[in-house]
Subunit: 411 residues, 2 copies
């Protein structure tokens, strides 16, 4: 029989959110009338902004007429979108990014899962613990790790423990690493990196000739004016950092699917002979060979998020979710729980009550309060003892969830 990629067998039983999905399904089958409130998976609930809806209808009409019909799009994205990205996401913050440093795609999950392909299989990978599981799993599947141990750690990966003690700000690795995944504002902890902390990372990466894979999917949620929105706001980052951006949480696109990745032209890796190779060129090659531009309609939708109306409307959505986050944070604090995040990110990272593990507390909230959360342990061993809740629900559901948790925990 054809041999499979054995690295897949190293993966823990299933992708975290698939696992949660199964528990929810089992609960619903046992409790068909229960009204579940989902504050687990970070999925938005507000309808698309009117400016975006309008742009999508127009784009559909373009597809309905031969003169304006669009087939295969430009490999790296339409100019009408890429130029807006350059101007608004970067130019407006004093950062210079060229249009040919951007490749538009259908998701940061994909981009952050695929980026590892352009690097050598023996690259040393560092990542935070807790962490977004895709960074780990994509490297396990590619064969950059050994087996997983009882604590859930894979041999060969460098784990950067993020705890309350260090404010969930990733500490520098205690050994060399070639690739470091950083996500700030952080999923799942809701922590941010200060400018000084980011500078420390960039300085480290330059000294180590390492590449930072910076996931800025939640940058739209930053409230504190001192926190950088892009790693390229940091001196030297163009030589050592790739940045991922997503419209999923910034514009409610979890079901629309659009994102982009920035690979500056200064970025170099080296080949087996020690010669420098442009990572920008490698990523473009990867994408032109195994991807095909995001749908025209989707790119039109993303572009509409940058219009005056679109920006006002998507900002109002973010404000709405951040108010939910405040309600959850203050509600849990009022119950005596210790809570992090929720100030520059939609995620609330709460400590579980004494004696309850992550999955215990997850099950308790599911079975008693009928509230879906995400167990912290699902994001890595250091997430044990925590639970993630998100501000992405409706206002009524968010308030009811907090009230239900309060009632159940009080018993």
């Amino acid at each position: 029989m054809t041999r499979i990629n054995d690295h897949y067998l190293k993966l823990k039983a299933s992708y975290l959110f698939a696992d949660i999905g199964k528990r929810i399904k089992a609960f619903q089958e046992a409790n068909p009338t229960a009204k579940l409130i989902r504050l687990g998976i970070g999925d938005v609930t507000q309808p698309l902004a009117p400016a975006i809806v309008k742009a999508m209808h127009e784009a559909v009409d373009d597809m309905a007429r031969a003169e304006t019909f669009k087939g295969y799009g430009p490999d790296a994205g339409y100019d009408f979108l890429v130029e807006k990205i350059v101007a608004h996401d970067y130019g407006a913050r004093g950062v210079k990014i060229a249009t040919d440093e951007i490749v538009v795609s259908d998701g940061t999950k994909q981009d952050s899962g695929n980026i590892q392909e352009i690097f050598a299989i023996d690259s040393v990978v560092a990542l935070t613990d807790p962490v977004y599981p895709v960074y780990v799993d994509s490297n396990v599947m590619a064969g950059r790790t050994g087996e997983v141990d009882d604590s859930g750690r894979y041999a060969g990966l460098v784990y950067l423990k993020c705890t309350a003690d260090n404010g969930f700000a990733a500490p520098l690795p205690d050994r060399h690493a070639d690739l470091v995944y950083l996500c700030y504002p952080n999923n799942p902890t809701g922590a941010v990196l200060t400018r000084a902390a980011m500078q420390k990372w960039v300085d480290w990466a330059r000294a180590e000739h390492a590449v930072i894979l910076f996931d800025a999917a939640y940058e739209g949620y930053i409230r504190d004016a001192e926190i950088p929105h892009s790693i390229y706001e940091i001196e030297g980052a163009r030589e050592c950092a790739i940045e991922f951006r997503s419209y999923s949480k910034a514009a409610g696109f979890t079901g629309v699917r659009c994102a982009y990745t920035v690979v500056p032209k200064e970025l170099r890796g080296r080949d087996a002979k020690g010669q420098p190779v442009s990572l920008n060129a490698l990523w473009l090659r990867r994408m032109t060979t195994k991807y095909n531009a995001a749908p025209y309609i989707v790119q039109k939708a993303a572009a509409a998020a940058y219009t005056d109306e679109g920006r006002k409307q998507t900002r109002a959505q973010i404000d709405f979710y951040m108010e939910n986050a405040r309600i959850i944070r203050e509600g849990l604090e009022a119950m005596g729980l210790t809570v992090y995040g929720g100030r520059n990110a939609p995620h609330i990272w709460g400590k579980t009550p004494p004696g309850l593990g992550s999955w215990d507390f997850f099950d308790k909230l599911l079975n008693e309060a009928h509230v879906v959360s995400t167990p912290g342990a699902g994001f890595g061993p250091a997430g044990e003892g925590y639970l993630r809740l998100t501000g992405f629900g409706s206002r009524a559901n968010t308030e009811e969830a907090v009230e239900r948790i309060r009632t159940k925990l009080a018993r």
Copy 2:
């Protein structure tokens, strides 16, 4: 510096269509007023079918209301689409495929490029020559080949030469292979496989314990009632074949992006210990970890292609393109060229005039007739001496292109 994936450096300079794009750009800069006719890249030109446009508008409206808004979709695709696939693409032809054997995605380019990930790195890969470049390049990038030789062949790959002598029907490999890519109706030659030829392949794969990766992206163009549309119409195929289907050419979705892959539950690979492993489970794991369901709007659009109206309208588009193919085929034949394809596929595979290589003829058509084609050599060494033209243009452009070629060739 971080080490790159050196396998990328084995790739020929660029992805074929990017290469062609550069020549076109250079031509246009030198001839700004010339009116180019593009019959090269297989990109559709007819606007989306009215039934699909209607469904997309409705889906956009769903996204505009909180009650009907859709965030992350089901990992493997919405039931409303998957059930239609099962009923229409398979059930209607007497083939039983279960809903959980299908994963919906945003393109067969992606799926056929990604499928190799679930197999061992030392798998022996066989593919036709000429061939859709993605099959080759994705395996080169993964490290399943050695270097490329002067003829354009990569060490380690098993090439199945498809020529006029064998009717461009892939001959069985003369040695063991673990994975075989077959695309029928074929891109680029326009050839089809008879039922008997398919049965021979399935029997071979079962005997060799190999997996056939069957790309049926052009099945909608089959005219001959005797030609199977799916490899699963062949006895035993569920044990040895994965099938790719696309809406790009079937419903004009090159700019909409939707496809799906079928991995039957009977399909097994073996792990390092010789234990059987479900390929269906591995593919689902790959997709849930590194992909995120195709956009809701796109899946709604695909589902609309299965309504009575949608089927009638998309069939009319296919008829239109096939009439173009006939015009090209008969036009070239009238000029004394030898031409294949164009009867059960939108592709015309023409022999270049004596003394002209593929790229020579490509350049001649570009520079003299201002017609964009695809050089056969771009699809592999055995494509040298051929040129691909497609029936995807408008009627007027198709007719004018044939007339221009006639005029230029006659000189």
